[in-house]
Amino acid sequence: MADQHHHRHGEPESEMTLRVRAIEQLLAEKGLVDPTAIDRLVELYETRVGPHNGARVVARAWSDPAYKARLLENGTEAIAELGISGLQGENMVVVENTQAIHNVVVCTLCSCYPWPVLGLPPVWYKSPPYRSRVVREPRAVLAEFGMAVPAEQEVRVWDSSAEIRYMVLPQRPAEGEGLDEEALAALVTRDGMIGTAPV
């Protein structure tokens, strides 16, 4: 994959390193950015903000019907109850997978993604193949991810074309029976909350 990643880029990595550094220097000299704040942002998104946050939300919803009802009614407020909020998650809507509906999320126009609950998006989510295809042939895309959606289930694609960010609440798996919230959270994957995996 390293080769493929390198190949996708228009310029060698070292040139981007220099370019970003040069722009950072220029903006720092003009007092428009704080390099220390950039250090902290990198650290924050590498260590604190990620799909483990969304997994806590899902596990709580699976364990507490009243919380689940609040989550589906007002995603932003219910997620904030767990101390999770912020950039690219200011207005959250949580959509529930059921026996009748399987939801999947995309941003066809750019790369909108619910950062506070899922972290920064994986490269495939931002890639032209996913963005172009999941709206047109979601069942084929889900099959590539290893998910066969039965014909009797509706596939509902959410294109995040505005400033609302979507998270999927997966169906609670049979193996979740009797588990506590922490153990349930461990069953939840990032892709499950995008809708490209069952859980």
Binding site: H9, Q25, L32, P35, V42, L87, V106, W124, S127, E163
Partner: protein, 223 residues
Amino acid sequence: MDGIHDMGGMHGFGAIAREAAEPVFHADWEGRALGLLLQAAEGMGFVDDHLRSRIERTPPDAYLRLSYYQLWIRALETLMIERGVAGAEEIAERVAATREGGRAPGGSDLSLDDMAAMVAAGASTKRPDAGVPPRFSVGERVRVRNDHPFHHTRAPRYTRGRVGEIVIDHGIFVFPDTNSEQQGEAPQHCYAVRFAARELWGPSAPPQDSLCVDLWDSYLEPA
């Protein structure tokens, strides 16, 4: 703008390449780019609408060749030049003069908890107090206007002229078409509109499937 970025429904991009155990950043510069963008947005006073509109002006061949972080940096340079923060020549000279290790000096003693609190506050573009009435209500059928503006817009091409049903009224939000062009926030209601897959793609789409797209009031007309 009917650019390459508006790629929903296009054919020919092939299989989705996924990476097992993908790192948050693939190189140090990607992390710097993310932090730089968020910091510059605050320092220079731009928002996502401005950034996106500049990304979309990237020529199609370059858009497809560059990674998303590269597109961000390219758009940031465009904004710097447009706003007189630095000239194209100044940027080019600085890039040529920059060598590994020549990091900008740290500017503050900001802690990780401080930053976490700042990020947690967010920067919502919802304008609940704008007092603008909705033109449509949940359950109503609407058609997306057939409009192909040259400027930034968030009505995906594949929805234009198509009929769907309002399923959520998200409330009042800044309107990107005007905001991106410095023409004001023009706050208005934004809705999730549900379309049958067949309405968008024709008879080859499964009859039971659907798509929900978030669309502002100005994009819609009664159906």
